[in-house]
Symmetry: C2
Subunit: 272 residues, 2 copies
């Protein structure tokens, strides 16, 4: 199974995270064998690191675990190839530039038929690889280009959330559609369904969220695979499975959360 991790924090911090520890959550025998990637926002741009191979063999992973760039917004992905061969172009997260912002996306699930679906037609943005997840991202950018008309004007968070919510609803028609998407300002997280290691079934939850405040200088955050430097901090974490014993909240099926500088700023909760 693929693993997603997203982090938004109030203060610039050096996140240290262990891709090996994250991969272990997929099951005792699981490794990040088919690729790993991590994108760290620095302003409107992203420092993106990806390799189409095992994280356990990677000198780059070891370097990032201790010396990754300072950031307030990061998305990481560990790949277990389902569609598309093991190569760089099929390795998440993916990036695209739109109106002078680097947009970042990672998806967990399978979206059969997306390349033939009328709702996910492509024009300006095209996949470099063959992964269904990259097609999904390109289709999201096709919709976003209508909202982001110019580098000097940003659509409201409400408008962006409405678009992401409608897009996610369409995506759920194709298959499991857990994703993290960031535009450099807001991180959007969508929870759907995921193969559950206990039941062996594909069912909710697909993502878990932890909202955490560190209130004093000595208060550091530690979870399995993730640590954040001590100090006053507000942080929101999204992950495929809870990474600590704290109260991670499972996202409802179809829930979309909008997060900015360490806070949930808006959300769409499905009505059942």
């Amino acid at each position: 199974m693929c693993e997603l991790l997203g982090i938004s924090s109030r203060r610039l911090t050096r996140l240290t995270f262990s891709l090996e520890a994250l991969a272990a959550h997929s099951g005792p025998l699981s490794t990040a064998r088919d690729g790993w990637g991590a994108g760290f926002y620095q302003g409107r741009d992203v420092a993106l690191f990806r390799e189409p191979g095992a994280a356990s063999d990677s000198a780059m992973v070891r370097l990032l675990e201790t010396q990754g760039p300072d950031t307030t917004l990061a998305i990481s992905h560990i790949r277990h190839a389902t569609l598309g061969e093991v190569k760089l172009a099929n390795t998440q997260p993916f990036v695209r530039e739109l109106v002078g912002r680097t947009h970042l996306f990672a998806h967990n699930g399978h979206l059969p038929g997306i390349s033939h679906s009328e709702k996910f037609c492509l024009d300006r943005f095209n996949p470099v690889g063959e992964a269904d997840s990259e097609h999904a991202f390109c289709a999201l950018m096709e919709r976003m280009k209508i909202l982001w008309q110019s580098p000097s004007a940003s659509p409201s968070v409400e408008e962006r959330l409405a678009l992401v919510t409608a897009y996610a609803a369409d995506l759920r028609q194709l298959g499991p559609a857990n994703f993290l998407y960031a535009d450099g300002d807001v991180l959007f997280a969508h929870g759907h369904r995921r193969m559950q290691s206990v039941t062996g079934k594909i069912e909710p939850p697909g993502l878990f969220m932890l909202v955490r405040q560190c209130c004093c200088e000595s208060d550091a955050f530690e979870a399995e695979g993730v640590s954040i430097a001590p100090g006053y901090q507000e942080v929101v974490l999204l992950a495929s499975v809870p990474l600590s014993n704290e109260s991670w909240r499972p996202l409802q099926e179809g829930e979309v959360v909008a997060i900015s500088i360490g806070k949930v700023v808006d959300k769409h909760q499905p009505t059942h």
Copy 2:
């Protein structure tokens, strides 16, 4: 002064290069203090590494010098900031996706007024940072999008060369316009003018080229800051200054060379 390096080779190889050694060519006191970057093609995608700081302080640089990814096409840039603050978004090379290919660009020179020039208007592609070089790249992509209409059809090298040549001629009107540009298939190099360390004047040449064959298994290539694994190999190198005692050829002012898998496949030479 900024430093450019481009490499195209016939066989997949692990290039090892020293950004410190390359930076030293700018002068005895020069360092890569304002940023460095290197993009390595893997198929149609690029493994891009950039940092907005001194290469000499970078653990990432040390890692890439010994364990960079295998490639047949790479572009590297060392930045000495002239326009735009020192930050990731202003750090070259730059990438953009067009028709499912990652395009890669690095420029050396100053292009005052480019953001107000009618010949370099932007629409689909927009700079993430403030560097004139990124604006220049976006403008090149605006022209390229007319030529690259679909992921399934590539324009001929001749068509691409004609476009790059016309673009380079427009760019030279603004200021020194040495650049390397790759579309994943062909590497284009344009030579113009550059601050010469001997004369202190901005004059040609702006780029040097070395075409090299390694004919037997024991034949390795070594130049200052660059080494290529031994074995039968054809390689073309482009650099701001000659990196070895071999016969590096200065590009003429306005010359554009098209290179693919270690061979010059086409070129435009100006008529004076």
